[in-house]
């Protein structure tokens, strides 16, 4: 009702005369109240009359909207308008953001109606009451201080993205919307355009020299933020990153941040300081998350930094134990994200990046680390890239891996590298193949097509397909959602049963709201991948301890809803990680404990995962902390990988 009249009131002039309800509606309404045969003429007369009255009411309702200081017409406005006309208001309608009108047709008639479901009162009584909405409150902030609007979160960003863009693309035409005439208040922020104006008056049309002067407060802020970002306190870092990701007034500091990151990467790659590289990448991520920043101008600094973190030969001091793979994965994801957001036909970021990756991958002399980075970078770019660039090279790559793993023992580093490349390839390719390759999955066929990696790939594909089928079936599963204030979760292992190979810790993205699926009462006979469950207990000095249970692949056997306490008590923690301010990160770091418990369904796979897991466990704390406080957007377990990565 309200929507209908609202649209009518909004009718523009050309259609004014003609807007009349169709006579069919009259008929339908008559039928709905039991009047059967309505004459065509009476329908026409009625529809005109009704249209007129509705318009009249809508006009009055608009008055109430205006006085209610709103832009949206609500049903209460209509009620009040009816009351003005001495008509009983329509009870039972309430304003919603969206009223779903449904469409139905039949018998040559078309109907739009609002579906009113029958409500079972007992349901309403039994459901717990919703949260009481927050009460009205009053909050004061400075909209302007002596004519200058302070850049605080309560105020809109001082320079909207479009304007930042305009500044960078057409510096001569810089016009501050709504501010161009107010010369007096352009003290700080208006300096640029004022200067531009001055130049315009002269004969020379020069690109204005933009002075990025930072106020004292801004300098202080910059100092604090950068120190917190690379400092040792994780809580502070999280806060700083949060600030970078949300603050609207950062654009003036953007050039400094960009330089900070690019220089930082340059120095720390040489020094093989993995932790700092990770922190810098997290800064890049935060900058990209900030919706008010126009990053395009600084890509020339940021992209090389990110690419360095993906493909650099060595990123850490002890490549055999440190988890630099996580950094590569993370940076690759950043790269993919920036390709998606910033790539245009003019800058061609994506194709240039793809070329770079492919070129170094194809190079025979490339080391395993770089190789891993290239593949990760490429596969994050999406299934299309995987299909066209990676799949054709699987055979070659397989042969290379075979040479390392089955050949004479070379260095340990090479072996680890080959392992990582293999699992990476399997992870990304399996999902793509599962989607594109027709059934059946024949082990021999796979070997013929993909060489050494064929058989393992085959089993992965089978699993991926099963997972997809399972998910398709799970329509009516009960879902429990835990919402946390900040996503602080991390799991660093995914044991893959059956394949024999186990992956070393990799960062797994977890959505901010974790979904715990209690599996439906399924049939145990159904082939399903062994589920691995993790309980992660993070205990830090400041924060209260959190416990989380995550299933990475849905298991048919046991349900995850088993209480955490019993799980930890009945089963020995298989892996225990404890970090005590590792590396050169300073000793002031609060004690942070991660206990990762792996709960496998079958003992065999658990043992395997254990064996694969133990070596890196001693020092792989950085990837865990890396993910803390980071916004996650997808889950990335091998079981769930039937969902396309992007």
């Amino acid at each position: 009702m309200s929507d209908m009249s609202a649209t009518m009131a909004e009718e523009r002039r050309p259609k004014q005369c003609t807007v009349v309800l169709p006579t069919e509606s009259m008929k339908a309404m008559a039928e709905s109240i039991g009047v059967g045969q309505l004459q065509e003429e009476s329908c026409a007369a009625l529809s005109e009359e009704v249209s007129y009255r509705i318009k009249e009411i809508a006009q009055d309702a608009l008055k109430f909207m205006h006085h209610g200081k709103r832009r949206k017409l609500t049903t209460s406005d209509i009620d009040h308008a009816l009351k003005l006309k001495n008509v009983e208001p329509l009870y039972g309608f309430q304003s919603q953001e969206f009223i779903p009108f449904r469409f139905a047709s039949g018998g040559g008639r078309e109907l739009h109606f609002y579906e009113e479901k029958e409500v079972d009162l007992s349901d309403i009584i039994n459901t717990p009451l919703p949260r009481v909405p927050l009460d009205v409150s009053l909050k004061a902030h400075w909209l302007s201080i002596e004519g200058v609007q302070p850049a605080i979160p309560e105020n809109p960003p001082p320079a909207p993205k479009e304007q930042q863009k305009a500044e960078s693309t057409e510096p001569l035409k810089v016009v501050k919307p709504g501010q161009e005439e107010e010369g007096s208040i352009q003290k700080g922020q208006g300096a640029i355009s004022a200067e531009a104006k001055g130049k315009k008056e002269g004969l020379m049309r020069m690109k204005p020299r933009s002075t990025h002067e930072l106020s004292v407060e801004q300098q202080l802020y910059y100092k604090e933020i950068t120190e917190a970002c690379v400092g040792s306190c994780e809580a502070k870092r999280a806060e700083a990153l949060q600030s970078i990701a949300t603050d609207p007034g950062l654009y003036q500091m953007l050039p400094r941040f960009s330089t900070f990151i690019s220089e930082g990467v340059r120095v720390n790659v040489v020094q093989n300081n993995l932790a700092l590289l990770i922190y810098l990448m997290r800064m890049v991520k935060a900058l990209m998350d900030n919706p008010t920043l126009y990053l395009e101008k600084y890509l020339h600094e940021l992209i090389p930094a990110v690419v360095t973190c993906i493909v650099s030969k060595q990123l850490c001091l002890r490549p055999d134990v440190d988890n630099h793979w996580a950094l590569r994965d993370f940076a690759a994801r950043l790269m993919a994200q920036s390709c998606k957001t910033f790539s245009t036909t003019t800058n061609n970021i994506q194709s240039r990046i793809t070329k770079t990756f492919t070129k170094s991958w194809l190079d025979e002399k490339t080391q395993w680390t770089t190789r891993y980075g290239c593949i990760a970078g490429l596969s994050e770019l999406g299934p299309d890239v995987i299909k066209t660039l990676i799949l054709p090279r699987l055979t070659v790559e397989g042969a290379r891996i075979k040479a390392v793993s089955e050949g004479p023992v070379v260095s340990n580093i090479d072996k680890i590298g080959a392992d990582h490349v293999q699992s990476l390839l399997l992870k990304h390719c399996a999902s793509v193949i599962a989607k594109t390759r027709p059934l059946p999955d024949n082990m021999e066929q796979y070997r013929a097509d993909y060489g050494y990696l064929g058989p393992t790939l085959c089993s992965h594909v089978v699993k991926a397909r099963a997972q997809a089928a399972l998910q398709a079936q799970q329509v009516n599963r009960t879902t429990l959602t835990i919402t946390q204030p900040r996503p602080t979760l991390t799991v660093s292992q995914s044991g893959i049963g059956g394949s024999g190979g186990s992956r070393s810790p990799s960062i797994i993205k977890v959505p901010s709201s974790l979904t715990l699926m209690s599996t439906r009462p399924g049939t145990p006979t159904q082939p399903s991948p062994p589920a691995t469950k993790y309980i992660v207990m993070a205990t830090s000095a400041g924060a209260s301890s959190t416990q989380q249970v995550i299933t990475l692949s849905s298991s048919s056997g046991s349900s995850v809803t088993s209480t955490v306490a019993s799980a930890t008590s009945t089963l020995q923690p298989l892996v225990k990680l404890e970090s005590r301010g590792a590396g050169g990160l300073g000793g002031s770091r609060p004690l942070q404990k991660y206990i990762v418990v792996s709960l496998p369904t079958s003992a065999s796979s658990s043992l395997e995962s254990k064996s694969g897991m133990l070596p890196p466990s001693s020092s792989s704390t950085s990837p865990i902390s890396l993910e803390a406080g980071m916004k996650m957007d997808r889950s990335d377990s091998p079981g769930a990988s039937t969902q396309s990565p992007h």
């Binding site: 009718e11 002039r13 004014q16 005369c17 005109e48 009359e49 249209s51 007129y52 318009k55 009249e56 006009q59 008055k63 109430f64 205006h66 006085h67 209610g68 200081k69 709103r70 832009r71 949206k72 609500t74 209460s76 009040h80 003005l84 909405p133 927050l134 009460d135 009205v136 409150s137 009053l138 909050k139 004061a140 902030h141 400075w142 909209l143 302007s144 201080i145 002596e146 004519g147 609007q149 309560e154 105020n155 809109p156 709504g178 501010q179 005439e181 107010e182 007096s184 208040i185």
Partner: protein, 749 residues
Amino acid sequence: MAAVQDGQLNLEVEKDIKTEITNDGSGNINASSSSPGSTSSGGKSKSPAGSGEDQQTLLAVLQFLKRNKLTESVDILRREAGLSADADDSPVSESAGAGSGGVPSVGADGGDANSLLSRVSIATPVAPPATAPPKVVAASGGEDQPDVNVVLSAYSQQGDPVLYPLYYNGLKKFIESVLDCHRAELSQVFYPLFVHMYLELVYNNHENEAKQFFEKFSGDQECYYEEDLRILSSMSKKEHMKGNETMLDFRTSKFVLRISRDSYQLLKRHLQERQNNQIWNIIQEHLYIDIFDGMPRSKSQIDAMSGSLAGEGKRDANKAKVFYGLLKEPEIEVPLDDEDEEAENEEGKPKKKKPKKDSMGSKSKKQDPNAPQQTRIPLPELKDSDKLDKIMNMKEATKKIRLGPDNLPSICFYSFLNAYQGLTAVDFTDDSSLIAGGFADSTVRVWSVTPKKLRRVKSAADLSNIDKESDDVLERIMDEKTASESKILYGHSGPVYGISFSPDRNYLLSSSEDGTVRLWSLQTFTCLVGYKGHNYPVWDTQFSPYGYYFISGGHDRVARLWATDHYQPLRMFAGHLADITCTRFHPNSNYVATGSADRTIRLWDVLTGNCVRILTGHKGPIHSLAFSPNGKFMASGATDGRVLLWDVGHGLMVGELKGHTDTIYALKFSRDGEILASGSMDNTVKLWDTLKAFDDVELDDFTAATGHIHLPENSQELLLGTYMTKSTPVIHLHFTRRNLLLAAGAYNP
């Protein structure tokens, strides 16, 4: 041809009147108001046709009146019919005055009778209206329900519906062919003519012709009439005309046009040459042409002033003298706390007074020549607490920041969070210690923005235990247990649309959709009085700057002046043609300004109840008004996003501030009047240099006399600053005594 048509027509008139009146059959009021209607149709039909038919009509009417035992009206009619043109004024006006009795005092300076007579006299086409300007006023000023049938019957006169577009087109061609200087003026005729021709077609059941006519010519009308055209277009049947307010407005009030004598002569000559009686009749019947001597106005001049529902304000309407000066401040001894304070106050006093008075050289407390007499309206006596407050005010004033283009105020924004689109009104106390908000859920909430919490007075039983002799008795009567930052006042049964603190901060007024205005005590936080009188939503209310009186206005188109200790209104200001959307007191409390959805602003004299100014120029309903602190100027903001500045003394538009893109809900002058702040639905606060705006206006005698002002082209030079909020419409603005700007609105995520 025309005569034959008219002949048929008259018969129809007769029938119409008969049937409709008998159908209505609702007692005396009908009858008394039916007499002007019927006579007017009689008078009109007299003009072009012969007198034979006319006599018949009159006889029929007489018979009808007799049947209904309306002897008085019969008398009038007889007399009129006998004397026709040179009718005897006095008895008629008397009886007509009686007929429209019960109408509260209105700004109508002529009675209905006058209008009647002039219509009759004008109907003879020779009488140039210029020599005998008909003193016609909206016939129905304060009547709640003018008889629709009578009003409509004027439309029964009719020509061939097919000819209407031809007539209109003919006029259009003519106006397009005249000299440029006249064209703009004559183009004003289009809109009212279009409306009335359309209504005539509709009234006479030529639905299709009406629609065609509308489609053909509605595009030619000025864009600011769009809203009205939309309403008009929905009206396509005679039945719809009954009870349609807009229709009544068109019919009951004459559309006022200002045209120079030359242009008018041109038009008249053309119409007479063409024998275009149809159009001529409409012009005579439904338009009021205000003819002036001198240069025709330019298009921009006309556009600046037009746009209201009933055309421009008549020049006569704005002739009355308005005492816009401020009342003399009472002498208050400022206690001399210490040396510093003293020095400050000595300087501060003249400084503060300076902007308020025009000729202020010395400290002499001479009466402002433009100010009303101190006792023109009785004002409440100052209490001790008021004096204390005044002293506080003066002290604060010494610390006031001088604002100017180089010295802009800081703005503190109060956001209402979690208001869920329900915030409808906000007010601050003058000392900026309290904020009140009216909400769509019928509640009124009061917040304290100082550390001092809101406390209730103790109950009567507890109060009796208090030592009344103690020094801190005022503290003791307060109940500490009730201290809180905000209080909620329950009582209304509909959204609260207007809210106003009393100057002494003891009371709060709120007006609501439920038709009442409520007075709340801020000592006990209870409702004291519910003022009933408006039966429809009350859109706005405001306390007088001296307290005691307050004004309210709403959907019933009548503004009411109340005193807090009377449960009935003291004055009713009727005359607006649509909802009264906002009400403001003049700083000297002797006048009240009302803005309306008919796109006019009226200024009313509180003493006499007369309308002393009609200000036109807005193109949308007016939602905010503000007087400058010296009482000389007024600013108004409307849905069209423009702020207009007015000179109250001359009744002239003196400025137009363009920049907002949505309805302006808040306007406020700084304490010294140098800066105007405007807040809008478009989530911005804008600051304007009013000192410059008022200085730029050059007022010579001619413009003052005619009101034809040349507005400066570019209002952007006056814009001092724009401040965007984060999706928070600005619905209230307030300057603290130290010239800090407070703004308020609800955050809509």
